[in-house]
């Protein structure tokens, strides 16, 4: 097996951006619904509780994308492009580890706190708090 090291910050960021584009494609069936809730400046949540479920459903599908790809392939599309892998202490990921490391996507308290905490951990410790808690790591192959 090829030696691995912690992935670089810029590679992780770029991989995440690519994943966002893929998610945007996956969520395209919601496009017409989202356009109906424009303009976005409206306090829509007060006027229609249906919308909370719409946002949560879309976030849940995004969570499914990360969890399924990382559970099955140890990589998302973005990570495949950048040559990154997700590993655990035992090698592959369990379904709970895969879900846990991406749970931050759900816009629900307390997971929403990870939107701030995870990037701070990533910048200063080179690993997300979600990764520490799920005992997983994002690594890249070292070319020789």
């Amino acid at each position: 097996m090829k030696p691995k090291r912690s992935s670089l910050f810029w590679k992780r960021t770029l991989a995440f951006l690519i994943d966002l584009m893929v998610i945007d494609f996956i969520l395209s069936p919601f496009e017409s619904l989202v356009q109906n809730i424009m303009p976005i400046s409206i306090s829509i949540f007060e006027s229609n509780s249906n919308l909370i479920w719409l946002i949560v459903t879309m976030a849940f599908i995004a969570l499914l994308y990360f969890a399924m790809f990382e559970y099955k392939l140890q990589q998302t599309i973005g990570k495949m492009v950048l040559g990154l892998y997700v590993v655990s202490e035992k090698g592959g990921l369990s379904i709970w580890q895969a879900v846990g490391r991406s749970i931050f996507i759900l816009p629900i308290f307390p997971f929403i706190l990870l939107w701030i905490i995870d990037p701070i951990y990533l910048i200063f410790k080179k690993i997300r708090l979600s990764e520490i808690l799920t005992r997983t790591m994002t690594v890249e192959e070292v070319k020789r």
């Binding site: 069936p29 109906n36 809730i37 306090s43 007060e46 006027s47 919308l51 719409l54 990589q75 495949m80």
Partner: protein, 288 residues
């Protein structure tokens, strides 16, 4: 199975899930309401200075944007302005009033606790004004008062070195007393703005400017007095305002939708340390 093949299968699977989930939701544009609610809370200013540590400001820039959006939205049949403001900048108040005048839908102002001066100016541009009998309104006047520190400076043996090119360049500086000529200039400016204010209210309310002038002493009135003077149309609260909208816009059911600028945590922190909150660079302010 190769990784690429697995990835394609997973994406197709997620697309199917996404399609099925999207088909469950039925959201039409009209579901979000047919009456826009725009709040005018706090001191009216041209730009927002809201923060964690300061009083609320009603930014004319934001409010005018909200008015435009509500006016352009086909599903919005009327706009309700909920006012709780003592007024503020003359320019900002006029901007809001002018934006309301351009609306081609029913507009109703609801004065809650206070809707005086510039806030009343904005309210006057609406088709109808509703105010609680105990609310405070009116105060049609202009103020440009400020603290003058020349005596204090003298006490501490500090002198003001006047270096100006243009004899009125430092008019209104708190470092020196106003000369009678400068006082006259100030008073004349305030009178002109007052006249403009009176004419705007008269035009908006369809009143005789002379009649508005009689009540435009800067005095405030409670709702019941304002009704007698013709400054408002209906005494009541939100229920009465909504009832009025139903009649004016010919709507049977009202669904209110709040139009407001969303404020992020970061912008609040940024606002906390803005120059305006620290009281920097504040000279004479003419407010209504």
């Amino acid at each position: 199975m190769s990784k690429l093949k697995s990835a394609v299968i997973l994406i197709i699977f997620l697309l199917i899930i996404s399609y099925l989930a999207a088909s469950i939701f039925k959201i039409e544009k009209g579901d979000f309401g047919n009456v826009a609610l725009i709040k005018i809370n706090g001191v009216i200013a041209t730009e927002s200075a809201n923060s964690l540590f300061s009083d609320q400001t009603a930014s004319s820039e934001d409010i005018v944007n909200e008015i435009k959006k509500a006016n352009e939205d086909k599903d919005i049949k009327a706009i309700l302005f909920e006012i709780n403001s003592p007024g503020g900048s003359a320019v900002a108040s006029a901007e809001i009033a002018e934006a309301i005048n351009k609306v081609n839908k029913t507009t109703v102002a609801l004065i809650r606790e206070i809707g005086t001066s510039g806030a009343y100016w904005a309210a006057s541009a609406c088709d109808k004004i509703v105010a609680h009998p105990l609310s405070v309104t009116g105060s049609i006047g202009v103020i440009g008062s400020y603290l003058e520190f020349s005596g204090l400076l003298e006490m501490y043996n500090v002198s003001y070195e006047r270096l100006v090119s243009g004899k009125y360049k430092d008019i209104g500086t708190p470092m020196k007393e106003l000369t009678p000529e400068e006082r006259q200039i100030f008073q004349s400016t305030l009178d002109q703005i007052h006249e403009y204010f009176i004419n705007a209210v008269a035009k908006n309310r369809g009143m005789d400017p002379e009649k508005v002038k009689e009540v435009a002493t800067g005095r405030f009135y409670i709702g019941s007095e304002a009704k007698e003077l013709g400054l408002i149309d209906v005494l009541g609260s939100r229920d009465e305002a909504l009832q009025l909208i139903k009649q004016e816009a010919n709507i049977t059911e009202i669904k209110l939708v709040k139009y407001e600028k969303s404020k992020g945590l970061l912008s609040m922190f940024a606002g906390a340390f803005s120059k305006s909150n620290l009281g920097l660079e504040q000279g004479v302010k003419i407010t209504t």
